[in-house]
C-alpha cells in the first residue's frame, strides 16, 4: 500500500501538471478560432450528453496543422530556431568547457568560490539580467561607449536588436547549465589518468584529447542538452534583444497567442514544438541512464 502511494504521488503530479495541460493544448490546437470567450470553438457541452460529446469530437480537425505547412513563416521559424539553438549551444560549449576545466584544475580551496561565482547570476531575476544586457549592448550602451572611448570604433556598433545580441543573451543565460555538468565530470576525474597518459607517450595536448575529453563526454552531452532544449523554445531573449528580423518559434507562438488571439494556431505551434523537443529529451534521458549504468 505504501509503495502504491509513493508511486502515485509523482504520477499524479505528472498527470495534473503535464498531461492534463498537454491534452488541453492539444484539444485547442484541433479547434477553430472564434470571436468569443474562450476564443475558440467547439467547447465541450456535457449537458447535451452523449450527443454533445459526439458533436464536439466531430468539430475537431487538423486544419491548424495543415495551415502551419502552408504559411512559410512557421517552418522558417522552426528552422531558424533550430539553427540559433544549435549555434548558441556550440558557442556555449566553447565558452563553458575552458571555464569548467579551469575550475576543476583550480586549487581545492578556490573551487567553492568559483562555483559560487557561476551560480551567483541565478540570485537575480532572469528578466532583469536580460534587460541589463539591453543597457550594455544598445547604441548608447556601456559597450559602445567603452569601445568609442578606446578609439577602436568611430561609430557605435549596431548590436542590440540583431541576432548577435540573441546569441550573446543565450550564451550568457545558459552558460552555467553548460559549466556545471562538465565541471562535475572533470572534477571526478583522477589526475593520475593524465599522468599515466603522459607516461605512455602522450604530450599534454594528446592526453587532453585522448583522456580528458572522452571522460568528460557525458558532461558535455548533458550540458549541450540542458542548453539546447530551453534555447529552442526561447522567447524572452529574442523578443527583448533580437530585432524584427530575428525569427524564433517562441516569439511566433507568443504573437499568435497574444497579438493575433489565434489560440488554436498558437496551440498547434506549441504541439509541434513539443514533438520536436521530444527527440533531444529522449536522447538526453538515454545519455543519463547510460551514465548511471557506467557508474555502477
Amino acid at each position: 500500500m505504501r509503495r502504491v502511494i509513493l508511486i502515485a504521488v509523482p504520477y499524479l503530479w505528472l498527470l495534473a501538471l503535464f498531461l492534463v495541460p498537454f491534452v488541453i493544448v492539444l484539444k485547442i490546437s484541433l479547434s477553430d478560432a472564434a470571436i468569443s470567450i474562450p476564443p475558440y470553438t467547439p467547447t465541450l457541452d456535457l449537458s447535451a450528453g452523449w450527443q454533445g460529446i459526439r458533436d464536439f469530437l466531430a468539430a475537431l480537425d487538423f486544419e491548424n496543422f495543415v495551415w502551419l505547412t502552408q504559411d512559410d513563416l512557421y517552418w522558417k521559424a522552426y528552422l531558424s530556431s533550430l539553427w540559433i539553438a544549435l549555434a548558441s549551444t556550440a558557442m556555449t560549449l566553447l565558452a563553458g568547457y575552458p571555464i569548467a576545466y579551469g575550475m576543476a584544475r583550480a586549487p581545492e580551496e578556490w573551487r567553492p568560490t568559483l562555483m559560487m561565482l557561476v551560480i551567483l547570476p541565478f540570485w537575480t531575476s532572469f528578466l532583469i539580467r536580460v534587460y541589463s544586457w539591453m543597457g550594455i549592448l544598445s547604441q548608447e550602451g556601456v559597450l559602445n561607449q567603452f569601445l568609442l572611448w578606446l578609439g577602436v570604433i568611430d561609430r557605435p556598433l549596431m548590436i542590440l536588436n540583431t541576432n548577435t545580441a540573441v546569441y550573446i543573451g543565450i550564451v550568457y543565460t545558459y552558460l552555467p547549465f553548460m559549466i556545471l555538468p562538465i565541471y562535475a565530470a572533470l572534477d571526478r576525474m583522477d589526475n593520475s589518468l593524465i599522468e599515466a597518459a603522459e607516461d605512455l607517450g602522450c604530450s599534454r595536448l594528446t592526453a587532453f584529447w585522448l583522456v580528458t575529453v572522452p571522460l568528460s563526454k557525458n558532461g558535455i552531452i548533458a550540458g549541450c542538452f540542458l542548453v539546447f532544449i530551453p534555447a529552442l523554445g526561447e522567447f524572452v531573449i529574442p523578443s527583448l534583444l533580437g530585432g524584427s528580423r530575428t525569427l524564433m518559434i517562441g516569439k511566433v507562438l507568443w504573437e499568435e497567442f497574444f497579438s493575433n488571439r489565434d489560440w488554436p494556431v498558437a496551440s498547434a505551434v506549441a504541439v509541434v514544438l513539443l514533438l520536436i523537443l521530444v527527440v533531444p529529451i529522449v536522447l538526453f534521458q538515454r545519455n543519463q541512464e547510460r551514465q548511471q549504468e557506467a557508474e555502477k
Binding site: 589518468l193 599522468e195 599515466a196 607516461d199 607517450g201 602522450c202 585522448l210
Partner: protein, 375 residues
C-alpha cells in the same frame, strides 16, 4: 629468483642504469629528498622502503619525469634526464591507483602506449597479445576496467606499463589495493615477469615483507635520506642502525654501555644487578660507548632451566603469548620491566605447550645472534 652471482653492486666495473647524484628535492620549505646518492643496476628488482612521507614516492616521480630535482642530477643509462618530459623517457610507471582508462577496453588500455609510438597495426596487436598472455588476461581483453576484479586490474596496469618494453619500470605500491592472499601470489608473479622480461624494476612500498620477498636490494628511507641500502638478508641480519633494525621485522633492543673484551667480543652492561650480555661484532666500539644490542625474537630460545652453555641468559615471567598458529611469540617481562619477545615454532600440538602465562622462564641466545649498534 635471483641467482647468487647476480650482484652488480659489488662489481666495480658494472655501470649503473640509474644514478642519483646528490639529489635534493624541495617543495617550498619542505625537503622531500635530502642530498641523496644512489646507484641502481640493470635487471635489478630494487625496492624503496620506508614509512609514508619518507620521500620514496618523490624519488619515483622524479624517475618518471613528473618532478624535477631541485639540486643534483639523475642519470639514466649515463644521460642526465632532467627536463626530459615523461612522454620522452624510456621509463614507464605502474600507478598505485592503476590509472586504467575507464573508457577503453583492457586491450585498448594495453595498446595505448604502443599506438602513441605510431607502430604498425600488426605490431601493436602482436605485442598486446603477448602482454595479455604474460599476465594471463586473454579472456578479458574486451572487458572495460570496471568489469574486472581488482587483481585483474592490477595485471592490466602491469601489462600496460610493460607493453612499451621500458628500460625501467616503476611500480608505486603495486599491491596496495590487493588482499593479503592475492598479494602474496602476485608478488611471485611479479618476480616471474621481471625475470622473463629482464626489465629493471623499481618498486615503492611501505610493506617490508613485500620488499623482502621481491627485491634484489632494498633501500630503507627516512625523512628524505637513505638509511641503508643492501640485500634483504643483510638488511634483516646486519642492520646498520637501530632505525633499520626496528623498521624491518620484530626486534628486541637492550640499551647499555659496551666494554671491548678483544677478538671482536664485547660486554654490554645493560641493567643494575644483571649479568652483562655478550655480543660479537666486527665493528669497533670505544669503551663505555652507549649502544643497543638488537636481537630478533626467533633467535631467542626459551627454556625452564638456565641452559648451561648459553652466552647470554636472562630470567623473566611470561606476560603474554601471541599464538599465530605456526608460531607462538612469548612476551617475557624481565625484572627491570622490559618486555622481551621470544619466538618458537609450534612443532607440537598446542595442548602440549610447555609454558603458560605467569611461568618463570629463561631466555637465552648466543653471542653472535645479536647485532651491536651504536646509539
Amino acid at each position: 629468483m635471483q641467482t647468487s652471482s647476480f650482484e652488480p653492486w659489488n662489481d666495480p666495473d658494472a655501470r649503473p642504469l640509474i644514478r642519483f647524484r646528490n639529489v635534493t628535492k624541495r617543495f617550498g620549505s619542505f625537503t622531500a629528498i635530502d642530498n641523496l646518492s644512489l646507484d641502481i643496476y640493470e635487471r635489478e628488482f630494487f625496492a624503496l622502503l620506508g614509512p609514508s612521507g619518507c620521500g620514496k614516492t618523490t624519488m619515483m616521480r622524479m624517475l618518471a619525469g613528473f618532478e624535477d630535482p631541485t639540486e643534483g642530477r639523475i642519470e639514466l643509462a649515463g644521460q642526465d634526464i632532467a627536463g626530459i618530459p615523461p612522454n620522452r623517457r624510456a621509463v614507464n610507471m605502474m600507478f598505485q591507483s592503476y590509472a586504467l582508462f575507464p573508457h577503453l577496453s583492457v586491450w585498448d588500455n594495453i595498446a595505448f602506449g604502443l599506438r602513441r609510438d605510431r607502430k604498425p597495426k600488426e605490431e601493436v596487436a602482436a605485442r598486446v597479445e603477448e602482454m595479455l598472455r604474460l599476465t594471463r588476461l586473454e579472456n578479458f581483453a574486451h572487458r572495460k576496467p570496471h568489469q574486472i576484479s581488482g587483481g585483474q586490474r592490477q595485471r592490466v596496469a602491469l601489462a600496460r606499463s610493460l607493453a612499451k618494453a621500458p628500460k625501467l619500470l616503476l611500480l608505486d605500491e603495486p599491491m596496495g589495493a590487493l588482499d593479503a592472499k592475492l598479494r602474496q601470489q602476485t608478488q611471485f608473479e611479479l618476480m616471474d615477469i621481471q625475470e622473463k622480461t629482464g626489465t629493471t624494476f623499481v618498486i615503492v612500498t611501505h610493506d617490508q615483507e613485500e620488499a623482502m620477498t621481491v627485491a634484489s636490494r632494498i633501500a630503507v628511507m627516512d625523512e628524505g635520506r637513505l638509511i641503508q641500502v643492501a640485500t634483504p638478508d643483510r638488511i634483516y641480519e646486519e642492520p646498520e642502525s637501530v632505525y633499520v633494525a626496528d623498521f624491518i621485522g620484530e626486534v628486541n633492543l637492550f640499551e647499555g654501555r659496551v666494554t671491548p673484551e678483544g677478538e671482536g667480543r664485547f660486554r654490554v652492561d645493560w641493567a643494575e644487578g644483571q649479568p652483562p650480555l655478550v655480543a660479537a661484532s666486527a665493528r669497533s666500539f670505544a669503551p663505555g660507548q652507549a649502544c643497543f644490542l638488537a636481537i630478533r625474537p626467533e633467535k631467542v630460545a626459551i627454556s625452564a632451566e638456565r641452559p648451561a652453555d648459553a652466552d647470554n641468559a636472562v630470567q623473566g615471567r611470561i606476560h603474554d603469548i601471541a599464538y599465530l598458529g605456526n608460531l607462538s611469540i612469548y612476551h617475557v617481562q624481565l625484572p627491570s620491566g622490559q618486555i622481551v619477545k621470544a619466538q618458537t615454532s609450534n612443532t607440537r600440538r598446542i595442548a602440549r605447550r610447555s609454558f603458560t602465562w605467569e611461568d618463570t622462564v629463561w631466555l637465552s641466545w648466543t653471542a653472535t645472534a645479536g647485532v651491536l649498534l651504536a646509539d
